[in-house]
Each structure stands twice: as structure tokens, then as C-alpha cells.
């Protein structure tokens, strides 16, 4: 599979699917329902855990799991760009505004004194660990779950007609990416330069506009194809994802019990 990168800080769905289809690590053999269960437990954990050490430990554990699955750390570092941008955009100002003991000196401004506080730094680190933990595991799950299994689970989890839209989206994401990439390649072969936006704004508009138009035309062709096959509101799914084996079920249930138990006792102070 040749993948021309449109952006090096957004995961390419084709690359993600290639890892899922062509690799065979330990996590590839884990039941997809188990992975979804663990994602839920991690979301709950990063929401209720309140100590930096605990959050950092959880993040470290997820990073180890990512490596054990045979997935590339170098790519992961690039894919962290957007999540980190989100963290910086909110936690950045909070690092300065958070009340606490200032680190170093303070900078006088017309609105008051400005300083980075220890509490602000800790908050920044906590938010980073919370976010990157789930981002890493979501990518791990996506890169170790086969196309047919993802399609099956979309069909099972979402109500109609959302499942139909999601299945078509999943199928045609790859087609639309090819379309977009062809447009980019065509422009590059004619000597276009994508490194500067404002001097190439018409080119960008043409590419984005053509992609949307191509989508509309694809949808018109798809309607004919669907109706010719007697589409009645149901895209038949072939394949099956079995229930998770008992030992995986115990791991999922154990994760939830551990998170809820910790939250009840250590965070919310529930006592007998």
C-alpha cells in the first residue's frame, strides 16, 4: 500500500488500517469488544484520577502496551501534535493564571502580576497525561482491529440510520482520500507549491471544492448502485465478532472495579 502523507501530524486511516490488516502482534489477537471496554475504563480513569503520579503511571502503562503491540513510536510522536496543541491552547493560559506558588519571578503587567505557578505546571502535566493516555490507547485499538471487525461493531453499536451513514463513511473515507491525494499530486505535478497558504488560496479552494463535488458525484453513483441491489435501509454485514473470552472479560470488569473503587474511596471519600 503506498501512502502519500497529506499531513504528518494526523494519522492516515489507510496507514492505520494497514497496521491492523498486515501486522500480527499480541493486541491483534485481543477481542475488539475487550478493546472498546478498556477504552471506556480509561476514559473513566483519566476523568476521576486526581494524582499526577497515578496519571503518569497509567500513561506509561498504555505506552508500554502500544510498544508491545508492535506499533511505531516515531509515528506516535508526530500524531501527538494535535492533541498537544489542544492541551496547550487551554492549559497554557491556565499555567499562568492558576493560583499557587510562583516559580522564579513575577512579570508585572497592566492587568496584574504574571507568573508560572507550581500548581499550573502540575495541572499542565496532569491534563497532558489524561489526554495522551486515551489518545494512545485509541490509536492502539484502531491499529490492531481489522476493517471487517470495525465495520461489524459500527453496525452493532449504532442505531439506524447512523450505522448506515457510519458504514458508508468508513468505506468511502479511503476513496475520498485517494481523490484528495490525486488532486494534490496533479497540482504538484503542475508545479504548485503547497508550503504557503495565502499565495495559493485559490488552489486550496479548488482542491477542497473539487473534493466536495466529487463526493456529491460519488453519492449519485452510489444511489444507483444501492437501488439496483435492492437497498432497503440495511447494508448487509458479513463477518462476526464473537463475545470476548472469559479471561478478557475478567480484565475489563476488573479495570472498571479498580477505577470505580479508587474513585469511591480515594477521590469521593466513601467510607463504610
Amino acid at each position: 500500500m503506498t501512502v502519500t502523507t497529506l499531513s504528518n501530524h494526523v494519522p492516515d486511516p489507510r496507514l492505520v488500517t494497514a497496521f491492523a490488516e498486515q501486522r500480527d502482534g499480541p493486541l491483534h489477537r485481543v477481542n475488539p469488544w475487550t478493546k472498546i471496554g478498556i477504552v471506556g475504563a480509561l476514559v473513566l480513569a483519566v476523568t476521576v484520577f486526581d494524582r499526577l503520579a497515578l496519571l503518569a503511571g497509567l500513561y506509561g502503562a498504555v505506552l508500554v502496551v502500544y510498544g508491545l503491540a508492535g506499533l511505531p513510536y516515531r509515528r506516535l510522536a508526530g500524531w501527538y501534535t494535535l492533541p498537544l496543541l489542544f492541551i496547550v491552547s487551554v492549559a497554557g493560559p491556565l499555567t499562568f493564571l492558576e493560583p499557587g506558588t510562583p516559580i522564579g519571578g513575577t512579570l508585572p503587567t497592566p492587568l496584574g502580576e504574571l507568573s508560572v505557578t507550581w500548581a499550573g505546571i502540575v495541572l499542565f502535566a496532569e491534563l497532558s497525561c489524561r489526554s495522551l493516555t486515551v489518545v494512545t490507547f485509541a490509536l492502539t485499538a484502531s491499529m490492531t482491529t481489522k476493517y471487517t471487525d470495525v465495520a461489524y461493531m459500527l453496525g452493532r453499536l449504532l442505531p439506524r440510520p447512523i450505522d448506515q451513514i457510519a458504514l458508508l463513511t468508513y468505506r468511502f473515507t479511503f476513496v475520498m482520500l485517494e481523490t484528495l491525494e490525486d488532486l494534490v499530486k496533479a497540482a504538484l505535478s503542475r508545479g504548485a507549491n503547497f508550503s504557503e497558504f495565502w499565495s495559493n488560496k485559490r488552489l486550496y479552494a479548488r482542491i477542497l471544492g473539487m473534493t466536495m463535488l466529487s463526493a456529491i458525484e460519488q453519492s449519485e453513483r452510489l444511489v444507483k448502485s444501492m437501488e439496483a441491489r435492492g437497498y432497503n435501509g440495511d447494508i448487509t454485514l458479513y463477518g462476526d465478532v464473537s463475545r470476548p473470552p472469559i479471561h478478557e472479560l475478567f480484565v475489563v470488569i476488573g479495570s472498571y472495579v479498580a477505577v470505580v473503587g479508587y474513585a469511591a474511596v480515594a477521590v469521593y471519600g466513601v467510607r463504610q
Binding site: L6, P99, V134, L167
Partner: protein, 279 residues
Amino acid sequence: MAHIHLGEGSFPLWALVLWTLLGVGLISAVVYRVRKGGIKTHQIALAGIAAAASFAIFQLNIPVWGGIHMNLTGLVGILAGPLLGALIALVVNIFSAALGHGAVGLLGANTLVNASEAIVAYYAFKTLIGMDWDVFPASASAATLGLSAGAFLMGAIIVVSGVNGSALPRGDLTIAVAGLVGLNLFAAFLAAGYWGFTVTGGAMPWAKRSAKALQRGVQEGGGALVELGRGIVVAGPIRKGGLMVEFGALVLVLGVLGIGLYVYVDRYGGFEDGERPAR
């Protein structure tokens, strides 16, 4: 497409539950209306492929401020209508979260924000076309308004929720978030407004086709959420009963639940005001 610019775990648990419930409420109302009103094959196909295109376009890095990404939610909302636009917003958010962009726990909040962009863009476009505007200025202005509505809602969600672990009072948090909203608004006006006005004029070879598609989207795009000229209805053709009671009841229940949760946590969360989140 504005996003909740917060990663996973940034909101406290009660806020996660609240926004998830509200998101589920909105999507449930839309699904209910779509099922009641019926959906045609071409609408399903358009929604699926428009979501795929939106997701694919997101992959393209636009070299402004080090690299930004667009989803064209406003245009998708105009094309597919507010009902399908809300469903597309959900689907795009699910796929984005699976690829580490956005957050799994904030799917409800993100869907509310993106659905609001699609819905506002659709009604703005419809209104401007009704006022005899040309298609391109109307679509650029409508997309700008949609993105602005999304940016404001995003800011409001963050301020109402608070940031997990932050001791910052709501007033100071509002100031911090105002900068973020301002940045989003600036991007919306710059991208959808200025760029839309300057480069998407009728001279483009695909312009006529786009104009037709946008206008057809308004006519066939899966029904309106609120049809002002025909009284308040929730989507699709007006049916017996109008389903307003069910929709109103759902909104009321979710609203009461949300306020109740907020009040409970605020009063009985186990923290004194001074020590609240400080660690």
C-alpha cells in the same frame, strides 16, 4: 469546524455525564424524526459520503499558523440539512476520536458544537438565499455564522464545566477561554468568510455545479429542524401531533437532570470553596 479544544479527562465527571446526555438527547431526537419522517436512499448516500469527504479533507494540512485542518462542517450542514448534518457531525467525531483527534468522553460535547455549526449554517444560508443573495456570498457568510455559533458554544461548555483539577475561579477561566473563542472566531471569519468571499466566486469551473448542489441540498437535504415559516416543528414534513410534546419533554428532562447534577456537585461535592480543586 470548531472543536472543544480540550483533551480527554479535562472535564469533571458530572460535566462528562451532562454533555453526553445532552448529545444523546439531540441525536435521539434527530434519529426519531428521521425514522418517523422516513429517509431516502440518496439522503443516506449523500450523508455517508459527505462525512467521508469531510473526514478526508481534515487530513489535508493547511499551512497557516504552523498547520490547521478543516472539516467544512458549515458546507456539509447546508448540503445535508440540519438533521443529517447533526448525524454527520456525530459520525465524523466518532472516527476522529478513533484516530486520537478529539476525545472519546467528549463525543457528546463535540457533537453538540459541530451539530450547532451545521444547523446554524443551514438556516443562515436558507435565510440569505431567501433574501436574494448570490449563492457564494450566502454560503461563505452562512458557514462563518455557523462556525461562530460553534465557537461560542464551545467556550460556554468549557466555562460551565470548569477544567478538571483547576482551582481557577469561573471568572478567570472565562477570560482564559475568551482568548480561545476569539482565536476560533478569527479563524472562522478568516477561513470561511474572507477566503470564501475571495476565492469561491463564480469564475471557478466547478462553481455552477457547487451552486446547484448547495441549492438542491437546501431543498432535499433531509428536512429542517425548525421550519419558521410553518410554525415550530421539529424536522421533516409536518405530521399529526408534530412530535413537539415528545421533543420538549426530552429537552426538559435533560435540562432538569443537567441542572440537578450541577447543583448537587456544586453543593455536596465534598469540597469547601477554598480547597475545591487545589492539589
